[in-house]
């Protein structure tokens, strides 16, 4: 088996699995609600606060800026909706959202919801052929009317084609007009250097299972000066912004995973860049007309490769590779399982057929050259078959 879908979810780090197992085991002997006032509660709270400090240290944030959530989707929704509501409450003219056209659905659909239900307007910031938002594009959009912009949201790195955005420059443009800036850094943490404070962003989404942590836990880093109206109301946990009893074992495991992934990042990233470049070269050798989508070099996530295979349907390629033990993705998975042309590729100017013919190969901390070998060995035959099926579909 070759697992080339780390961008969807990457294996748990062994240390994190041990930590989770130990804390779950400990939960058998002692309950612990981090909001309780007794000894057991204090013990749980201490674990949570140590996790908060550990996570904060790993990503250049202050502990008070860390809000634990149930994952990337919740963090994105909380940031987009919460900051929008707060900004509009302070000034009813602020209804416009500026978002890149290549955001993950957790941001896209949260924005669309605000448009459909709350009277927001949205301007999708165009990207270049590599999927990158240029600061001058943002500047032009802001300066059309800086007074009505509620927030700007641009992801740190794209989950499909791996484009790394100039987040610091973009945040500076927003800040010239006092506009808060959110970034979805789900794909970036553990692969790129992520420093919340140095980046200048006001809110940052991260999640556990993309960097060796558990599923179902994430965080929103939120600066102390950024207002954010809660989605969830209740016990007032997490600065009153995110109520709900904390999942102590998961929170601790998340912090450990982010900490370890960050410590090992430079070394892992360098290895992944080598492996990824090898993959790209060998795929292009095996299938000469395969077209690499997205940027090259340092402007790309280390573990990401993304190709269009002319004449093929992405879901045919996926089925054929799966049958041969190679696990890949056509992009971001959709709940219904129905393949749609990627909005990311369409935003880069690709046409419908190119967008439907694409496949993402994503590497992670457990990837080895044997994964690339397995892919390259079966790929030519798979592409040939998928092409025949594509010709049938086109009839």
């Amino acid at each position: 088996m070759a697992y080339l879908d780390h961008a969807a979810s990457t294996p748990l780090l062994p240390e994190v699995a041990d930590s989770l197992a130990a804390s779950l085991r400990a939960s058998v002997d002692a309950a612990g609600n981090a909001s309780s006032l007794h000894t057991a509660g204090r013990r749980a709270r201490r674990t949570v606060e140590e996790a908060r400090e550990r996570l904060a240290r790993a990503v250049g944030a202050r502990p008070s800026e860390v809000l634990f959530t149930a994952g990337g989707t919740e963090s994105d929704n909380l940031a987009v909706k919460g900051i929008w509501w707060s900004r509009r409450a302070d000034d009813p003219r602020r209804t416009r959202v500026l978002a890149s056209a290549v955001e993950h659905h957790a941001v896209l659909d949260a924005v669309e919801w605000l448009v459909a239900h709350e009277g927001a307007s949205v301007e999708w910031l165009p990207v270049d052929a590599d999927g990158v938002v240029h600061p001058e594009v943002l500047r032009e959009a802001v300066e059309r009317d800086p007074s009505d912009v509620a927030l700007v949201t641009v992801m740190w790195a794209n989950n499909e084609i791996g484009s790394v955005q100039p987040v610091r420059e973009l945040a500076e443009v927003a800040h010239e007009h006092g506009i808060p800036f959110h970034t979805d850094a789900v794909q970036a943490v553990g692969q790129l250097e992520v420093d919340f404070s140095a980046s200048g962003v006001d809110a940052l989404t991260l999640t556990g299972h993309k960097c060796g942590g558990p599923l179902g836990v994430g965080a929103l880093l939120l600066s102390r000066t950024t207002g954010c109206t809660p989605l969830l109301h209740g016990g007032g946990q997490e600065r009153d912004v995110r109520s709900g009893t904390l999942d102590v074992p998961s929170v601790a495991a998340l912090a450990l995973a982010v900490d370890l992934a960050t410590q090992r990042r430079a070394e892992v990233a360098a290895r992944l860049v080598g492996l990824r470049d090898d993959l790209v070269r060998r795929v292009q050798d095996a299938v000469p007309d395969a077209a690499l989508n997205g940027p090259v070099g340092s402007a790309r996530l280390p573990g990401n490769a993304h190709f269009s295979f002319p004449g093929c349907e992405g879901d045919s390629l996926l089925l054929l590779l799966d049958a041969r033990g190679v696990e890949v993705s056509t992009g971001s998975a959709c709940s219904a399982g129905v393949a749609r042309p990627s909005h990311v590729l369409l935003a880069t100017g690709a046409d419908g057929p190119a967008a439907r013919s694409s496949l993402r190969f994503s590497l992670g901390h457990t990837s080895t050259v044997s994964d690339v070998d397995a892919l390259v060995e079966v790929l030519p035959g798979v592409v040939e078959r998928a092409r025949r099926a594509g010709a049938v579909l086109a009839r």
Partner: protein, 360 residues
């Protein structure tokens, strides 16, 4: 063999896939997403293609331990089945969309793609038998679906597998339950899957708009009522006519024919529905084309009765499958609608089918 099992999310396709796995085949499950807006479609037992059905199909694949994918054929289904359905009604004919789906989607788009991807064939949960390439009725006469498969060519049938043809529906449900498939007691789907509430007349009105016209008594020529669109009427229909003038003899009247061009619906007594001579176009032989004339049995609608008949060549109605058919029935048929298929049987063996053009 490497087989692609079409999993609708219902019990029949689940058991068909299970049997194929148990026979030692390398089976991959595929759910066909045919609705462009799955949320808007009926859910649960009323049809197919809802999210719930997709989930049920995925769970079947989980239990069987086979790979599972969803293939999006919504655009194709709309063009080849839904639009065709509406256009046929607009032309005064009564189409059978299940038959069209088998002809254009399941055993064309899906089968062709499967073969190109390296599969040896496609498995479905249809109730019909394939004996050495010959299509036969299911042993469960009530559930028999050979009628809607009679449009398939020998080439299509050679790559199709219908593992359920030798079983009754009750046996299929028992087999599903025995294997722990959660769809074992899921109700049967019926009606037209893409008509959300089963109200075909409203479905057509929304797409074709009101086209009012007279309802005319075929015997007297008198206008006996009004209609909103001739397309909403089917030959043989009695209910929903809303006639204001009672018939002379006080007996109920039936739709005898639909004339969309003049926007007329002709009605008359039941015996005027009787036909003994029919023409059918564009024949498809499920086996080697037979020499005409021949004697056989013909079925004129899904689950309809069977008539002994003689089939003669009708050169004017020919097509790729050879000459058209002129059918002489030994016993009169009633309410035969143009657009339905005339399916020819030899005993329980399907010989072929052609589309009914006109009745006399």
């Amino acid at each position: 063999m490497r087989l692609l099992a079409a999993l609708s999310g219902g019990v029949d396709s689940a058991v068909a896939a299970a049997l194929s796995v148990e026979q030692g085949h390398d089976v991959t499950g595929v759910h066909l997403a045919l609705a462009e807006t799955p949320d808007a479609l009926r859910s649960g037992s009323r049809g197919c293609c809802s999210r719930e059905d997709a989930r049920d199909a995925a769970r079947v694949a989980d239990v069987l331990g086979i790979p599972f994918y969803v293939w999006d054929l919504a655009a194709r289904f709309r063009a080849d089945v839904v639009d065709d359905f509406v256009a046929e009604y607009a032309a005064g004919r009564t189409p059978n969309p299940c038959l069209r789906c088998n002809e254009r989607i399941k055993f064309a788009a899906v089968l062709d793609r499967a073969l190109a991807l390296g599969f040896d064939g496609v498995v479905t949960g249809h109730h019909a038998r394939l004996d050495g390439g010959v299509l036969r009725r299911s042993v469960d006469v009530e559930k028999d679906q050979s009628y809607v498969l009679a449009v398939l060519t020998p080439a299509q049938l050679s790559a199709a597998r219908f593992p359920l043809g030798g079983m009754t529906k009750a046996q299929v449900r028992a087999e599903a339950a025995r294997r722990g498939l959660t769809v074992a007691d899921k109700p049967d789907s019926h009606d037209v899957c893409f008509v959300a509430d089963g109200d075909t007349r409203r479905f057509l009105r929304e797409r074709l708009g009101p086209q009012p016209g007279p309802v005319v008594d075929a015997l007297t020529g008198a206008v006996v009522g009004q209609h909103d669109g001739a397309y909403a009427y089917t030959v043989g229909q009695r209910r929903g006519l809303d006639l204001r003038v009672p018939s002379a003899d006080g007996r109920p009247r039936y739709v005898l024919s639909v004339e969309p061009v003049r926007s007329r619906v002709l009605v008359g007594p039941r015996e005027a529905l009787d036909v003994t001579e029919l023409r059918a176009e564009r024949p498809v032989w499920t086996t080697e084309p037979r020499a005409l004339p021949l004697e056989g049995l013909v079925q004129l609608r899904a689950h309809g009765e069977v008539h002994e008949c003689v089939v003669e060549a009708d050169g004017a109605a020919g097509g790729a499958g050879g000459a058209g058919w002129r059918l002489r029935l030994r016993t009169p048929a009633q309410g035969v609608a143009a657009g339905q298929a005339a399916v020819l049987y030899d005993g329980d063996r399907v010989l072929g089918s052609a589309t009914l053009a006109a009745a006399h």
